[in-house]
């Protein structure tokens, strides 16, 4: 290998991540008794670390209650994380004051799951999308209107929709409005919090395609939260699998689907339908429900439902270990 190539190689390797999450933790205190003492904690997110490179789409999957939404919102400080660091371009946003954080809101945006609840029913679409421009003093008057019209067109709606109210739109259209709102401030990073879960399957593909296109167009970096591995596979470069607030496995998307290591990932994958009726596949059915995050199992949190668990699994929390470049797993059995 020539010197030049090595230098180049090192450069790409040392590309700074856009977002780095370190040991993120979020506990929701449970208060009880006469004096509202803290009697327990809902451990929604526990020791979550990962990084997102610029231009990358990272999928975050897990079943309901796995803490993926809480993780996404903690990163944006829509809920205050209990502990841990969130480095955005090297700056720890968890330590910023409310006013300093306001500046960073321009860089980090969110698309919500429920397109019906996330748009103010009393504001017109134009006002909803234009609000961000006003807040950050990016545009006003005619210029603002032109910008909003442009955003509507780019998200597949029409400029004439500006003066309408959210209730006049379908779910898919509302989600496009939500996307246009997030894009209004030209963010570098967007958390898409289950953006298609509330939509019909036929509409899901449209919205995912739109996000894919916009990602190219705006050079976006996305954290795509979903409980559906099929959707994530399509859009993501890297996938993080969460269970009960902890990361089970991280792998490049193709690698994860071709070669899942963690038994939880295997189980999730076996639930993804294959569009081929002749193909038979062994389905791994998990027993029971996800345990309570108030009192999670000791050691590996997945052990209570794991088909290959042994006694040792209860002893230590398995650390994330790299098995191949970029592929991490937290399991002592594999």
């Amino acid at each position: 290998m020539s010197d030049m190539a090595r230098v180049d190689n090192r450069k790409t390797n040392s590309t700074k991540p856009l977002l780095e999450v370190k040991n993120l933790q979020k506990y929701f205190p449970i208060r009880g008794g006469v004096f509202s003492r803290i009697v327990g904690n809902v451990k929604a997110v526990e020791d979550v670390s990962f990084s997102v490179a610029p231009g990358e789409v990272v999928g975050l999957v897990g079943e309901s209650g796995s803490g993926k939404t809480t993780a996404g919102r903690s990163i944006l400080r829509l809920i205050e994380p209990t502990a841990g660091e969130v480095l955005f371009e090297g700056v720890d946003v968890t330590k910023l004051s409310k006013n300093q954080m306001r500046e960073y809101r321009k860089e980090m945006q969110i698309i919500f799951q429920d397109p019906f609840a996330s748009l103010n029913p009393r504001m017109t679409v134009g006002d909803i999308i234009g609000e961000a421009l006003t807040i950050h003093r990016l545009a006003k008057g005619r210029e603002k209107e032109a910008k909003v019209a442009d955003l509507l067109e780019r998200t597949g709606l029409s400029a004439s929709h500006m003066r309408r109210y959210p209730h006049e739109f379908s779910g898919g259209q509302r989600q496009r409005i939500g996307i246009a709102r997030a894009l209004a401030v030209d963010p570098k990073f967007i958390v898409a919090d289950e953006p298609v879960s509330a939509l019909d399957v036929s509409i899901q593909a449209q919205v995912v395609n739109l996000l894919q296109d916009l990602k190219e167009e705006f050079g976006l970096t996305l954290l795509f939260i979903a409980h559906d591995l099929a959707v994530v596979e399509y859009i993501s470069d890297k996938v993080i699998v969460m269970y009960l607030g902890r990361i089970m496995e991280i792998a490049p998307a193709k690698e994860l689907y071709a070669n899942p290591i963690h038994p939880y990932t295997e189980a999730l994958l076996s639930a993804v339908p294959i569009p081929d009726p002749t193909l038979k596949r062994e389905r791994i059915l998990l027993q029971g429900d996800i345990p309570s995050p108030i009192n999670p199992p000791s050691g590996c949190v997945f052990r209570t439902r794991c088909p290959i668990a042994v006694k040792e699994c209860a002893d230590v929390v398995p650390p994330l270990e790299e098995v191949s470049p970029g592929h991490f797993k937290a399991c002592i059995r594999r």
């Binding site: 945006q109 609840a117 009393r122 609000e131 807040i135 029409s158």
Partner: protein
């Protein structure tokens, strides 16, 4: 594919509420009644026949006639004129006092609901304290210190009747704060002030409007009560309440019903009308109707 073929004009939720209000029979009846009362009171100088406060001992204690529609009182003042002018005072006190209580209630309830924690704790305990006092008794007590007068009555009523509003607003804000569109505004970096007044308050206005009408009624009745007890609007200025007070003696009750029937009926009609409007508003603005 994404075009909408529906209505040519965007319909705002408020406009839809107005359409529902218009179709509410009681609300329309109440509105008509109230508008008539309001016009009579506002344009009292046009409709009156005599100076409302002018004594005329020669004409005292006369039964209704063409000269005096509602008769005269014991010092010869024209009851018809006094009823009209009294309506001005009573309605002014009702609206102004309700407004004062709304302002205090919205601010305290809003802060309490939005910030929660110790702010909420402090404000709500204070609200509880105000609520535990019997309203009339405390107003009577304070009134003897600050004295009579329209302005005093307005502030006394307003400053002691906000707890209901504060609780209503707090509850609304508490639930609206968790709405996703509010979180969305936060994620855009909107300031608390903007979030409270642009995103939360418009949704609070609906129940607040309904409660405002009831607050007006409460204030009108309370003014009548205070004036009746002699700590409200000082004579000779007429109000529906102190007109009743002047009529408070056995011989007037028996022999001069024209002295107390007009203000009593006006209070009754006014309260009914506003109640109808309030009910109509509540139905029209019911969030369950808003798609």
């Amino acid at each position: 594919m994404l075009e909408i073929a529906a209505s040519p004009k965007a319909v705002s939720p408020n406009y839809k509420a107005w359409l529902r209000f218009r179709r509410h029979p009681l609300a329309v009846l109440g509105s008509v009644m109230f508008i008539i009362i309001l016009i009579l009171a506002l344009f009292a100088p046009v409709f009156d026949r005599y100076e409302p406060n002018k004594l005329s001992l020669a004409d005292k204690f006369q039964a209704p006639s063409m000269e005096h529609f509602f008769g005269t009182d014991r010092v010869g003042r024209d009851i018809w004129s006094r009823t009209l002018h009294g309506g001005r005072v009573s309605l002014l006190v009702g609206f102004a006092a309700a407004l004062v209580s709304m302002i205090v209630g919205v601010i305290l309830g809003g802060l309490s609901g939005y910030y929660g924690g110790w702010v909420d704790m402090l404000i709500m305990r204070f609200t509880d304290v105000i609520m535990t006092f019997p309203q009339v008794v405390i107003i009577l007590t304070v009134a003897t210190f600050v004295g009579q007068g329209i302005l005093n009555v307005i502030f006394l009523i307003g400053l002691f009747s906000w707890p209901g509003t504060a609780r209503l607003v707090r509850g609304q804000v508490l639930s609206l704060r968790e709405e996703q569109f509010v979180v969305a505004a936060q994620s855009l970096g909107a300031r608390d002030f903007v979030i409270i007044f642009k995103h939360i308050m418009p949704s609070v206005i609906a129940p607040l409007l309904a409660s405002l009408t009831f607050a007006i009624n409460g204030a009108v009745l309370l003014e009548a009560g205070l004036s009746f007890l002699g700590v409200g609007i000082p004579l000779p200025t007429a109000s529906w309440g102190n007109m009743l007070e002047t009529a408070r003696s056995l011989d007037v009750l028996q022999d001069g019903p024209w002295m107390w029937i007009p203000p009593a009926v006006m209070i009754l009609l006014n309260v009914l009308a506003i109640n109808f409007i309030g009910d109509g508003l509540r139905d029209a603005l019911d969030p369950k109707h808003i798609v």
